[in-house]
Point group: C2
DNA sequence: TGCCAAATGAAAATGGTTTTCAATTATTAT
DNA sequence: ATAATAATTGAAAACCATTTTCATTTGGCA
């Protein structure tokens, strides 16, 4: 489960950040999304209710949230950056759907042994690792199958 | 082992690409580096012999090499892009040194089972995965230890 | 050798992100 | 509640990596 809106606000207060309407908005937008959002996407969603929040504020808020460890930041395949409300439990990996952007958390990291082994083999002190999977989620697979069968035109 | 200069040239010829002096230079620079290089780094190295190759050509050549599967492209942690001459054997992972940029190839991917398991658990069709490790290589660990002991000043 | 498509380079365009700076606002102390 | 103040905001400009444009040059084939 991800941090609740209240969690986030109180963590920010604790850090000495001011709680502005813009920040509230941005947090709500991030929270209501199951997939990662780029700064541009956050901007769009925040501004569809005509709140007039500037791009600059989006960037600054995302940066602040990242520093406070409340969101995690991805490097998307296309070189862009995505942000996702963080799940409280520490280290985990992500499974992304290529079609719809859905993100699944893989809570258990089964890689400790492998990482340790690589360290031993290479002499490196390994400080970080990332493991990202991408594919097509069940929903999008279904949608593609449906599209295919209607294209073939079983009954015409 | 990575592709040799000759391998690369002949692959390019086969693809119908022209072998220009600029391209030769760029390939040599990539080849002589054990770590990934950003376009800017390639530019710098290519131009230190005053060959006057433009940034544009660097970008275009790197793109061409990537399309020909002769280099691999990374998203660096800082958001920049790095390129590395490819090793012929297909799928593998990387171990990067945080200090000096050294890249070690991990030829064996031990993750097939885990990937398959995740697919089964989630219903995703998993098409790709990446596993990247970062840490400090033995050389840089040594250097740090040396620096530390001289700072402590064992004999002064 | 000459031709022509491909490659090059300079300059301009693009697009995401960051900085600057004056005006505004959330919080703290009064 | 109000005033003081330090943080936040937004507009515009700056930045920087990357891409596009277009006129010029060049590698490789006929």
């Amino acid at each position: 489960m991800s941090y609740t809106y209240k969690d986030i606000i109180s963590t920010l207060r604790r850090t000495g950040c001011k709680i502005t309407p813009q920040r509230r908005q941005i947090i709500k937008v991030l929270q209501s999304s199951t997939s990662h959002l780029t700064p541009a996407e956050v901007f769009e969603k925040v501004n569809c209710n005509s709140s007039g929040t500037g791009m600059v504020t989006i960037y600054r808020t995302l940066e602040m949230l990242e520093k406070a460890d409340l969101v995690c930041r991805f490097n998307l395949n296309n070189g862009h950056t995505g942000y996702l409300i963080r799940r409280p439990h520490q280290h985990h990996h992500h499974l992304l759907c290529n079609r719809c952007g859905l993100v699944i958390d893989l809570e258990d990291c089964h890689l400790e042994k492998l990482v340790k082994q690589v360290g031993a083999d290479t002499g490196f002190t390994i400080t970080e690792h990332s493991f990202e999977l991408t594919g097509i989620c069940p929903g999008c697979q279904q949608a593609e199958n449906d599209a295919r069968s209607s294209r073939v035109g079983i009954s015409t």
